[in-house]
Symmetry: C2
Subunit: 367 residues, 2 copies
């Protein structure tokens, strides 16, 4: 253990974070940096969803006050409130970096989302995004359905979405798309297939983000343990193995997006209506490092958490950061995940609460 | 609605009930009759498990006091505490009707169970049971495992068990076996295959019980709703359809066993360690009737809840009942499932709490 050489991860990025608003925002926003992450790509699924420049600018300012060293990249929520004009304007003001698409009803605060069986209403939006080089972030699940001829459930919801992803890519070959928090071997195979033959990072148009928790969880982990219930649900052991292989592969179209999604503990400890989401922000890099070490692939960790995503999003320069004075160093340090963070009514249980972790992140002055 | 003719179901039987002990036993035991059931086949997974004649006799007496009109059929818990001599003795004293086999660790109070990869230690027990015409009740799941070459999880745990069922039947062709609470198309297909060609009910050696809740639930029903979490877990829509088809088919090797499994509400509303089980006892026949009506098969309901199981267990005479003065009549009567039963610390949420049901059971003097 004593022989472990700390690893300079530079300025890691988490390309899928939920920071909420109100007291929950106050609680979790500082944990981005504490968890070893410099750049947070912020989801827009507040209530109501973020669909205006004013709100996204105000939200970013609020976040920045809470975490002065963290670079926040902002998004709009894809809905009928958006127009191509608004997309152009928001891009030119650098108010947003992308647009998040939620199929209606599949996860927390997604009721204003779209019908993934027919994206055509949004093609003018996608065209504007393609022109502005904005990213399209897809929650890639079809809503559950038990109609004859179409049997969609939480287990095949992602795989059933993949044809829609391929069609979008075919219709907008220059639109940069991320399949968010992918959870299945089928998704990994599709992303690899789309990128086969690509040797230059600039040519990647369709990437996938992978969370920390999906590298550890399977269906058995959330059966009877709502704290591990999230959407998309963690799937079979064979899927988890495919995700781990993809994450540690060093392939630049797979990068980190935690989908850290805090809920008050009382919203997880329910007999019905459990909120979907796993909170990993406060120890994000530590969770991921543990998986990479188990695969003997710590040398690929920096690619996954820092380089590949930042290349894809074109935020790979120090100039893209609000603060580049410190670097995140991975160090070997055993610690116990706290049972909860927060206090009073606002208590959140982190992923793997009570377990021991082997790694920690130290921020050190950049060379 | 007014044209519905009440149906005389005779004296229905539930061939898989959990009545617990202590205050929970006091609360749920009377609900067997209230739910429209005359005969309850009682599971032995108390703490510690029931493995002696003294305890099974005492337990039955306690239950009988709580529900004088209910006929209780008792079971032993398969474990190394049992001997062939004990099996012979218990059978000859009519203390038990069968023996329940739990694979270790798969569900509530199963830690004393057996290794389903190797039943051979119990072959002397099975031989004694075969000689005494006792029933072997199998919880048919392999324990989850993520070892290389064997990937068992809650979704394929039952299907993975089926070869062990077939081997047991081959090794003990005259032992009567029930695959309890089956949940998959694979299990239904296997039971049909084993019984293919059988035309006399007396020739059935391997049957399957089907619960009320598995006729309604799928994986989506318990994802985020621990009240619907049970073992085996409810599976895919295609599995549910196979269960419904089997239940309403009129095939005598499929019969009712509710696996009604009460837990205090606080044991279901947890963020980790949710207890597995759905409580259906208090409205057992009403839940099932609703499914049969939706399939236009109410004429097969009596076979499923009364005749087939009682034929298999050879308790098809009035003389087998402690009370045969009343019959259960299915009537059309809309009612709302209560949010909970019980009071204080001992509160149980019934299946479909708050929903409307279309049918009720009335006990009427037998003709």
């Amino acid at each position: 253990m004593s022989s472990f050489e700390p690893i300079n991860l530079g300025n890691p990025a988490d390309f899928h974070v939920h920071l909420r608003d109100g007291p929950m925002m106050d609680l979790v926003t500082p944990t981005v940096y504490e968890g070893g992450v410099s750049i947070a790509y912020v989801m827009p699924n507040l209530v109501p969803p973020i669909t205006t420049i004013d709100r996204v600018v105000e939200y970013k300012a609020n976040l920045q006050k809470l975490a002065p060293k963290t670079t926040f990249m902002m998004t709009f929520y894809l809905s009928k409130d958006l127009t191509p004009e608004l997309i152009h304007q928001a891009a030119q003001q650098k108010a947003i970096s992308g647009v998040k698409c939620y199929p209606a009803g599949v996860t927390t605060n997604s009721s204003a989302g779209v019908d993934p069986n027919d994206f055509s209403d949004f093609y003018p939006i996608f065209k504007a995004m393609e022109e502005e080089n904005l990213i399209l972030n897809l929650h890639g699940e079809k809503p559950s359905s038990d109609k004859d001829g179409e049997e969609i459930h939480v287990l095949n919801a992602e795989e059933s979405f993949l044809p829609a992803l391929k069609k979008l890519h075919a219709d907008f070959p220059n639109l940069k798309i991320v399949l968010e928090h992918c959870t299945t071997k089928a998704a990994i195979d599709t992303i690899n297939e789309i990128n086969s033959g690509i040797t230059n990072a600039e040519d990647i148009k369709v990437a996938a983000s992978i969370t920390a928790h999906h590298l550890s969880l399977t269906i058995d982990s959330w059966a009877g343990a709502p704290i591990n219930f999230c959407k998309p649900v963690a799937k079979l052991p064979s899927d988890k193995k495919a995700l781990v292989s993809a994450a540690v592969s060093g392939k630049p179209w797979f990068f980190f997006g935690s989908d850290s999604a805090p809920h008050p503990l009382h919203a997880k400890a329910k007999h019905v209506g459990v909120c979907a989401g796993v909170f990993t922000q406060s120890l994000a890099i530590s969770y991921v490092a543990e998986v990479f070490e188990s695969q003997g692939k710590l040398e690929h960790l920096k690619g996954f958490v820092t380089e590949f995503g930042r290349d894809f999003y074109a935020v790979n320069s120090k100039l893209d950061l609000v603060d580049s004075s410190e670097n995140a160093w991975l160090v070997k340090k055993v610690s116990k995940v706290p049972e909860t963070i927060g206090e009073g009514d606002l208590v959140v249980a982190p992923f793997k609460a009570g377990d021991e972790l082997q790694f920690d992140v130290e921020w050190r002055a950049a060379a």
